[in-house]
Symmetry: D3
Subunit: 270 residues, 6 copies
């Protein structure tokens, strides 16, 4: 009644690297993210593990360490002292929480539709994406890019906001709506910057190696100063492009060169 | 073996508002949305609670009431007669279902790729977002914006379509693809309007208060007439901007002023 | 204490088509997708069913067959030999896996931020969307468009990438970031093509029938040659539009007519 | 870091019957049981599938049919017309519901601790076990003993009450506490019988075949008349043992021979 | 293909009391039990809700209140001040925790196989059953017997130990193995009592009312003094039966009359 | 509206050992058990992790190691080389599988109600309990009694069969029905032994220490020879009690002294 699928099975499994350990687990990384969100904002994010107290932090330590160990089997990064790195990441949580509290203020004050700060924590995709970025950044700076990427891709999936964990972002960061935002790996962003949906902070073009593939590890994305506002769907490209403090970049603007502090760049259409 | 994290724990928990009740639950709001979808389209959306019959509606009543009570602790809205509001919302469900049946017709007839109306209910992100918007709007008009926002953000997350619950949208509404659509809080949209992916119905600029923050509660988004078509990635901004009946706005068009009925606005590129 | 909702219940249920069988299940289709991903990449995607060995394939066969039977009750397609179709789909899996292995190479080599091929499988939304598209395409070509659509909409929801299952896409396909990409039903794409976020391969306009609704089943979307690169937010429209081999289409470009092989099309702004 | 377990893997998998279809699924059988309980008592048992209306029954039909097909690959029973059997089982549900309503009356009236009939449905292990037995019996009588056994073992696990699906049990059946009750395959029980915890209705001894194994398919368990009461931990053994109508068997009594109608058998201790 | 089940559907649903609210939820009661276990022993029982802090207690308050309200629609008890009762139950939790800490000591010291007190909390069915009994007893004494019964039946299902919530049990209670233990509604048990598997503290016989049904609400079960030990499978019956302080009742003993303090009752067999 | 529970919270949490690591997780141990069952009988037990191949074994290794590390913080056993122990346990799995295959034969041949060997694996509580015992025994013999106990208590909960992991049990072990069986820590059982429901292999009495508590670590339970049959509810007690090869112990028999090989012990009642 059921056809014989032994050939299919054979073909599907013949190339499996049977003897290798499992890579980091996407599910587990997402679960770790949620646990950290709970530890930082217990009233707004519930815990999936259901642990509480210091025991919860201890358990989190072991889970992160396990994923770091798994990641080091796959990453080209120098394998390191996993225990030390994991402890450092745990110890960075209170500082991340402080930074996120500042982001909440920026989001609440910057959006006329926000009725109360609680609404920001509960429902703003911008906050969700920033909170995951700030956690992922701690992994990236410790040379665990695979885990960092898994984290920011989860944020990307949930919010449509694609912030590379390698980007460097200042305090009081504001994102509204957010869908379609792309912030590249080597971007730097100052304090009190506001970014709207569809903004790309990207690469102009890629230098290719001898085989025609892009060269990895080069500064490719722009630097954004303090107090800059970038309206919806603006595109700013290039590793040499610098947007000066206080500049305002209008919606749909296309920028591939630097702009001095205090500039206002609008694209005239209609 | 596990480092001592008591300092981390102390820092993370010291500012917790231990004595306050929990805010509305995002998980529960999503679950309520799904229950309503099941009640309206039982063949297409299964029930997570597994209840059926009038008991299911009674249970839904209690769950919504519980979330409204939780919301009133956080919202600046006048706390009200929760029971009455909840009953009104339940009683609005048959009307919402009627409206959604009209949206289904619009989506099926408007998309040449749709093979049957069932496909629309089962798989169209446009329908999914509209159905949640229509439910959320009932909460918004009863001054429960926090719950309304939680609902539309869930739709945003699932579909990339960001319709503010405060917007007013007519019958036979059509959205195709949808990713990146933003419809602001004070937008009004007539009947039989079609909108494609990436369209923004947004604010031109925000009036700032003395401290430099946007003033809340002002009309900031456009009015769209009946039978209007707005193609992909068009941007229409401003509280005074009115798009007349039957107008067609081309893809990528950028509009910050009104357009009379019957106009066709195309942006000439290449 | 609880109001009497018997009127609400009556209204909500009066139009239910009580006697009809259930349509295909969105949940089950998603679960089938995940099972196939597990069968093809067992180290990276875990199985929700927890089955293994040929028994897992047999079980998958029965589940797909069940959904195809359900779909044929709703699709306008000619009802067919479900068993045969299902077996063909199962037998296509090794070939799909081969194609996906080529896509992985394209994604790894094409993205300077990719640290290792494993990162692509684990975390790239482009890979996720392509892998679901390639599975869904097998259903589409066997005239089961409803299931195919459910699959690609799931990918759309997770990644913001909206590839219609009817599109025809060559080998070594590369998508970066991805949010907002739309690839229409009658698009054809050659080998080694690269596409960035926000690109639309869409329809120019729809021929309307006597009642003013779009005519279904017409060639409406462009043909893309081999080795083409299309940068972010470019829009290419029309069933007659052909992009020649090796062409490069710049970001934000708007194209509604054909372009010869080897062309470079940039849109000059600022 | 992780030892090489390839030998373990090889040994564990070498004998797997890779090519055979999966047996019936214990999880699925339990889920089917729960769906039937929901269909019969929707206010007390929620549905895991979340389906409602006739669609729910149709779906149940397909799920049961699938399990019956799976069972026939393993059972020594004559493979049969699965569709017909499944339909008969579905059609027996209203009758089972009627019988269970009588059992509820018996349980409520018979237990002085019962405060209301609803308590019986919600919380009595005796009712839970009987309701599953009555469903399983329909499978047993259609010669699908494997599924029947999976069902009654689930009841056994939840309640400690082990009723073989082959037993024949009359109306208004009463079980109190229940833990440890064993009712064998060839037992018959009349109407309005009451049984307390720890009662065994078992086999006296097994006739052995030439190889010293028990001969299967022989009448081995007692016949219990109408209106019989059997108190806690009584043991009644043997295929020839008949307990006459209205008999009362005291706690801890050990019986291997018949007892006439109206008898009272007490075991004198202390 | 699927038979027409409209008759089955009609029969199954015709008697449904469509207009009545749902009864208390078994699932929710079990979930409440687990939440309380987490609040009392956070290191050993994880939280399913994932809440923490006072917010978790507040949420628990609302969930219990909701179930009490549901229960009062079904119970013959006088409907009462639900809020007050719920608050009292919450306030009793620290006292229950203290009592359970004493039970843990009794279980650890009394079982030669126990290696550490933690083992008792994590794995002893006796502890599990006692902890649920002590919670359920708070509901019983406030005349919410339906919820109390749902709780103790859950313990019964998990452990095979059937303690009626109405029983009154002193401190330092010890249960070993436990399967098959039955402790009736009107039993009283002193301090430091030890009970082994299969022990029944039950009713001798039931006084019947005019219709032949047992009269409810009568003292039917024995009183057990302090420091009593009752070995496996002993049966003690009757509302007048009193076991004096320090008595030892041997395994399998059958007792229907009182025994003075300090007695040792063994049943001589073989 | 919600009472102030800050006092309750304070009391509940004041004694928490905030700084200690979490104990082994009951949930995780159960999940590990199920994973092992899947590895040994993949067609009958599905995997909750959804892993397959050697990666699944590697992952299992890490999970077991993590629990052993957690256990050593609580056990009085000498902390040991966790890695080595874990590897030994993994390596013992093929041998356990062989033993279980023999148990399956014993169960199928010994029960006249068994229709096929598959029924035994899928549905027999006796097999379920034995399979967990054989796994747990590997932990016990490596001096990890806490994990072993968590495993056998899970079997106890599911089946009502309470086999201490310390017991030593030969091949071709047969258990029927099973509810209420208790097999103590220092019991030894030979090959081809059959045991029915309610049988206790227990301790006669406990030697007490100076404080009146039982002395731990003493031989307290009987030795059962090869080919012994022990019928329902028989009780065999004492560390010196030896049941000789081939003996048959009748139902309800009470034994506290040794019995020579080949004996038949029946208890004469009625």
């Amino acid at each position: 009644m059921i056809p014989d699928f032994s050939e299919v099975y054979k073909k599907l499994t013949e190339s499996d690297k049977d003897n290798s350990p499992l890579p980091p687990s996407r599910k587990e990384i997402i679960s770790i993210i949620k646990e950290i969100q709970h530890l930082m904002f217990p009233e707004y994010f519930s815990s999936a593990s259901g642990h509480s107290g210091i025991g919860a932090i201890n358990e989190l330590y072991l889970r992160i360490k396990h994923q770091i160990e798994a990641a080091f089997r796959f990453s080209s990064s120098e394998a390191g002292e996993c225990e030390k790195m994991t402890a450092q990441i745990i110890e960075s949580l209170p500082t991340i929480k402080e930074k996120l509290n500042k982001d909440i203020i920026a989001l609440y004050e910057g959006d006329p539709a926000a009725k109360c700060p609680e609404e920001v924590i509960l429902s703003y995709p911008g906050f969700y994406a920033i909170s995951i970025y700030r956690i992922a950044h701690e992994f990236y700076t410790r040379k665990i890019p695979l885990l960092a990427r898994l984290m920011t891709e989860y944020a990307h999936e949930k919010t449509g906001i694609d912030i590379h964990a390698g980007a460097s972002i200042g305090e009081y960061f504001f994102i509204d709506h957010g869908t379609g935002i792309v912030i590249g790996e080597t971007t730097t962003i100052g304090n009190r910057v506001k970014i709207y949906q569809g903004v790309t902070l990207g690469a102009k073009s890629f230098d290719l190696d001898a085989e025609g593939n892009p060269i990895k590890g080069v500064k490719r994305h722009p630097d954004i100063g303090n107090n800059v506002i970038i309206y919806a769907n603006a595109t700013i490209l290039g590793g040499d492009t610098k947007i000066g403090d206080g500049a305002i970049i209008g919606a749909n603007v296309w920028l591939t060169s630097s702009v001095p502090a205090g500039s206002t760049v609008y694209y005239n259409r209609k």
